[in-house]
Symmetry: C2
DNA sequence: TCCTAACTTGGACTTCGTCTAAGTCAACAC
DNA sequence: GTGTTGACTTAGACGAAGTCCAAGTTAGGA
């Protein structure tokens, strides 16, 4: 995420304080915030930022490939800034905690041609589920 | 899905016409309806069935393990009656069409212990994405 | 410094889903 | 067959997440 602002400027982005704050909030490893959480953290730094701008900016970051959208449970989408290193997600069924994980092998390779139904398959997302150490019984 | 009604009765379900209609609508291969689509089809057979009952019944079927909930895109959840045979999903990025697919190997095995962060990992869901024959250019 | 297209804002609106209180009925007992 | 009862269903209000729009503001080039 470090040089994100530079990359965005290079793509013709107008660098407003709102966009800067959203990009700063979305920084780090294992960050998977909802739009509302991003808005709450952004508000702490820039009190008048609106929800619409947060949604707009997140949508633009996703379209530019700088941020991944993670739809894990049919509730609010989460935004993952770690878009430049391939990874999958491990989610706690108890508390909803999310970790980035790196399985070995390419999941795409496991889908034989006969099972592709003529699709041009380009990506595979894997979601692992289980209980985290805090939610595990005993 | 064939003997679903029998299984449900065996579990103490009261077999109402509404539940029967919802179960009938959710029958077949590659069926992935949203709750609203289920409601629309159920209404065709039983005009006075309410949305709340469709949601209740779908939730119960999911809790009983007879139907899978598929959250593919952060929009409406889809309901997949093919719960008794392990499978994954292939989704068209163009039109949203969904197919059940059967990759080989166990995706769970690809996640090394060092990448499990102490979680008791129990399941892996894979979503393949690409363009279906109708949406493919040329 | 000025100008203007791009950006932001607040609030209304949509979609998807949940909840509740009142009414209905499947299944069991007789 | 009839009665009883708790489980089920209903309509509509409500809530959460996200989109849209017209009006106002501003970053960055001239």
């Amino acid at each position: 995420m470090s040089d994100l602002l530079g990359r965005l400027r290079g793509r013709g982005w107008r660098l407003t304080s709102q966009r800067r704050v959203v990009a700063e909030v979305l920084d780090g490893e294992h960050v998977h915030l909802t739009a509302d959480e991003v808005h709450a953290r952004a508000t702490a730094r820039l009190p008048e930022i609106s929800r619409a701008t947060v949604y707009n900016t997140l949508g633009e970051l996703v379209a530019l490939g700088e941020v991944l959208e993670v739809a894990t449970d049919g509730r609010a989408k989460r935004y993952d800034p770690n878009a430049h290193r391939a990874h999958q997600h491990l989610i706690c069924s108890g508390c909803g905690a999310i970790r980035d994980v790196h399985p070995h092998g390419d999941p795409l390779a496991a889908l034989p041609a006969a099972e592709r139904f003529g699709f041009a398959v380009t990506a595979a997302e894997v979601t692992y589920r289980g209980l985290c150490p805090n939610c595990r019984p005993s």
